[in-house]
Symmetry: C2
Subunit: 175 residues, 2 copies
């Protein structure tokens, strides 16, 4: 598929934030023209669809500053340096909900918005859950909520769930 | 859900790109602590699941610079200033594939990665398609490919489709 590929020419970091690393790169297009590409480098993340033995799914609600609203999502979090996606899934699920997953199955991996970031989210199905206790960071505010698959399906059909990783995870888990 | 809300304190634009507008905001957390939020302001976008009368779905393959690979996606594009999502869906589908949609049905709207951007993608199902001709910009390189629902389902189950909007659109369209 070579006639689609863009050739790297040079890269300049234009912002070095706590979370976001923003670069402006110059590329050569398949027709020989030059163009610029603005991209966000991201460490990657995981998301987890945790299903209890009674079939209910563990969801989290939190405030999402960029959209100025709370959002109902599946548990998720960013990869720490040196951490595998599976280790991260176990850690984030435990931190955000208190549940320890004894069985994890990879559902898929998504690119969230490949036009401007390399962010990948690895999505897992978590079962055989054991309740311990939620232990979020001091500055992290998360409500845990339980829903049946039927309730979540109604919410999806009514446009009440809008988070991309959440929709992909739930739909692949059979909701 | 007031105990989750973060209070805006101030905002500083740290990058003003051709596409990306990056801001670093200071907020007050529910516990009174202060924190910073780095966010990308995005104009919003649309994506379209175009289904031909014979049931095949019109997909596009293009190079995505941030992930340094080509990606098979549903047709999509950014909102122009003053354009409604529905107008944008008709325009982008026509530009990228040559198909004019005579029937558009809203499937849902997704937030792609609400931890750091306000990007919303409105997703439509397009039917009653009429072939005209593809008319991408000079510097836009897109291959059109047709797949049956069954072929796409196999690709989803094998992790061969990773674009978030594409997965949400196809799964909600019954793939």
């Amino acid at each position: 598929m070579d006639r689609l590929t863009e050739k790297f020419l040079n890269s300049k970091q234009v912002f070095d934030g706590k979370l976001l690393k923003v670069f402006s790169d110059e590329v050569e297009l398949p027709n020989g023209n030059k163009s610029s590409r603005e991209i966000i480098r991201h460490p990657g993340a995981v998301a987890i669809v945790p299903i209890l033995n009674d079939g209910r799914i563990v969801m989290v609600r939190q405030y999402r500053y960029p959209i100025a609203d709370t959002l109902l999502e599946i548990p998720a979090g960013k990869l720490d340096a040196g951490e595998t996606p599976k280790e991260c899934a176990v850690r984030e699920l435990s931190e955000e909900t208190g549940y320890v997953a004894h069985t994890l199955k990879k559902l898929t991996a998504i690119v969230t918005t490949p036009g401007f970031t390399d962010e990948v989210i690895h999505i897992y199905l978590a079962t055989d859950l054991e309740m311990t206790e939620q232990h979020t960071d001091e500055d992290e505010f998360i409500n845990m909520e339980l829903y049946s698959k039927e309730e979540l399906r109604v919410m999806i059909d009514n446009g009440m769930l809008s988070d991309a990783k959440t929709l992909v995870g739930l739909l692949l888990a059979g909701v």
